[in-house]
Symmetry: C2
Subunit: 448 residues, 2 copies
């Protein structure tokens, strides 16, 4: 029997890999070291726990530690922190309950995830100031909201976490101020989406402070004020959601190569530069299907998929981890906003494309059928050969239509190909020309 498959980190990528390897090769020893107590939890669900849509924090756990141990026969050890990787001797050093021991590995998967960026703000450790990246933080925010009478919330960062938290806190009757350094919220979704989302956030009572840098927080016992360049504003609670940074230190110390994005560099099978050492999930890079370059987009599906593929590869059935298109979707109160591929024209030019884009607004259902909504669709393509580069959608329904564009990107379709796709039409579901097709039609005309 070969040496164990050792996994560092018990969330999406790690547990997917461990489960898959054990299922395909039950004889293989599979050991997962998780330094915390939560495993396989849906970080994306945390705002909905704070909002109150999800009753119990444990509902966010896709599969409990017990299930992994008993039903999947994975040797899952929570409260175990891997503190060193020795690639020469193929062992990891583990600390648990104050003890330290070594564990040899045949294959090693680094699935150490990412952590919330903590900007150099004054007063970041004041009571009532939170980041939101793990379950304990979600728990703490929910309790804080429940136990205090909060009038005003400061949310720092207009990415999806910030917007989801704006919705969550508004649902508790808290007045939300959202601070974003850039000119728009949801920067990776592009300006067409941002315009619609910003209008809607304002309609919902969120006060937007765009191009506004926060410098810190103050207050006596608890947070009371948020400090800006020119003055300060009240804040009874503050959520800092300015992005995540991959946890690469453990691997980097062992000589694992880190890419330009700051995440661990991997090949198409999720292998790092070190023999038998893989990386997947929020700590790792993945290949972007449009640019064909390494990118870092820490999202759940990528982690799950890569973990699963690596689980197959380590038991002798090499399976590519697949590329990413940077597809993302977010609920912003009553809107859905989604994006995929390459939307940033500057970035597109950097990698050698000549981007042309259109934005259209069309109805999600037949014009005479009750209920529909406007969907704003942006598509970007290369002028030369019409290759589709990316797209976005935003509206009160139909945001999952982004999947059509994401599928087209995976296939390397041109705008003309997409325009010819036989998408589904019936009055309750779509106009004859689905909004995606209308956008493709208009973009195609612009390319001629």
């Amino acid at each position: 029997m070969s040496d164990p498959f050792v996994v560092i980190g018990g969330d999406a990528a790690g547990m997917s890999a461990a489960s898959k390897a054990k299922r395909e090769d039950p004889e293989r020893d599979v050991i997962v070291f998780e330094k915390g107590e939560w495993v396989s939890y849906a970080a994306c669900g945390m705002p909905y726990y704070v909002k109150g849509d999800v009753e119990d924090l444990e509902d966010l756990v896709a599969m409990t530690a017990e299930t992994f141990r008993e039903e999947r026969d994975v040797d899952l050890r929570t409260g175990h922190e891997v503190v060193e990787i020795d690639p020469e001797r193929e062992v990891v050093a583990v600390e648990a309950d104050g003890d330290r021991f070594e564990q040899p590995y045949g294959h090693l998967l680094v699935a150490t995830g990412a952590r919330a960026i903590e900007p150099p703000f004054d007063g970041l450790d004041r009571e009532g100031v939170f980041t939101i990246h793990d379950m304990d933080e979600a728990d703490a925010i929910e309790r804080y909201v429940r136990e205090h009478d909060l009038e005003t919330a400061a949310i720092v960062g207009g990415g999806y976490v910030g917007i989801e938290m704006a919705e969550a806190l508004s649902a508790h009757g808290i007045s939300v101020d959202l601070y974003e350094m850039l000119p728009h919220v949801l920067q990776p979704f592009g300006e067409a989406v941002a315009d619609v989302v910003e209008d809607h956030l304002r309609e919902q009572g969120v006060t937007l402070h765009l191009e506004t840098a926060v410098s810190g927080f103050s207050g006596d016992d608890r947070v009371e004020r948020v400090h800006l360049e020119d003055g300060d504003e009240p804040a009874d609670v503050a959520i800092v959601g300015v992005g995540v940074t991959p946890n690469v230190e453990l691997a980097a110390d062992a000589g694992v190569e880190v890419g330009e994005t700051g995440a661990i560099a991997t090949d198409e099978y999720g292998r790092t530069n070190l023999e038998s050492v893989f990386a997947a999930g929020d700590c790792a890079e993945a290949r972007h299907v449009v640019t064909d370059e390494p990118d870092h987009v820490p999202l759940a599906l990528t982690a799950n998929r890569a973990g699963r593929a690596i689980g197959e590869t380590v038991i002798g059935s090499p399976t590519p981890v697949g590329g990413i298109a940077g597809t993302a979707i977010v609920k912003a109160f009553d809107l859905g906003a989604a994006r995929t591929g390459l939307l940033d024209e500057e970035r597109a030019r950097e990698v050698g494309f000549d981007p042309v884009s259109v934005t259209i607004t069309a109805a999600t259902r037949a014009h005479y059928y009750p209920g529909g909504a406007d969907l704003t669709v942006t598509l970007v393509a290369d002028r030369e050969d019409g290759t589709l580069l990316g797209g976005s959608v935003v509206g009160r329904e139909g945001a999952k239509r982004i999947d059509t564009v994401a599928t087209a990107l995976e296939a390397g379709m041109t705008v003309t190909d997409l325009q010819n796709a036989d998408l589904a039409y019936a009055p309750p579901f779509s106009p004859v020309w689905d909004p995606i097709l209308t956008a493709a039609k208009v973009l195609s005309g612009k390319l001629e």
Copy 2:
């Protein structure tokens, strides 16, 4: 100036072609002959007019005759029936108001549509027995429902028209009996969809009579009974929706070739076998993207797209009409059901594939997020190279996810390609693995 572009038929294909040609080449004479009075109307919306969701029949008209004439400068002549095509002399003979005249053409588009099949039933002409294929029929049904006190409806045919009409008539408190000769409703959608839809129809109070042939109708003044092989059942109104047949006679008489499907044979530009004569819409065949063979699937998007392409081609910019995947979607009370591609395994084998299929049921949202529903997904692929052949979905939400599969078919993706598509995930919109991805994953496992 070249001879006029003459179009026979003023609905989707005809008006799309006429509009496009005139827009791209305003100097070109474009004449449309429509034998009726309605143009460019949404036949698919008629059940919702009967149901009461659409207030005014004219709401179903995408663009009025006046708009085509005045804004689009198309010479649209309603009440004009083309009775003969003479391809030698390149003229059509037209009858209007009892007069007959000839009109020369440079290019001719046959867009004569289809008509409801009228089976050889006794008493088909009795009052209260309707087919539903044109606006006047929709109008008549709506009036009949409004003006009479109807208890029981007999719907003959379990295709999408039958199911939409079951919903429409139930909404008026009429008890619906649906008669289908085949073992299942929605035959082209496959058994996995039919099972779910049939259960739901029964829940909604529709009485299903499967494998039941209707032989006719009887009644004193108006229809009162529907006759079956073994007995009869009450019916205060009857809708016969057993499919459509293409209107090819005019073209066939002129020597236009009709394909094996019974519709007009066309090439990739919508050209028939006759010089300068095109055909598009419900009267014409189209190339199926999976089988690469001619097929006849009379649907609105195909008609619009082909018309538009032919409009470009006739003004000197040759544009393929595009293929079809037979994508269709239907609302059945609270369900959405959709299909695309090749689902029938027998047919798949006939055209040289070795089909393998899976059916899975998965949630449309994260398990902990409120509101989701089960979506049942079927995917079919070729065993040898994994090429995706078709798929279906059914559920209370998410039926438009079929577009992901339709796009994959257009691109010729394999199941593995589809499995690797970076589809959008966030708890309110999808589980981490979208149901389509889960189905692809399971099918992929079965192909190994």
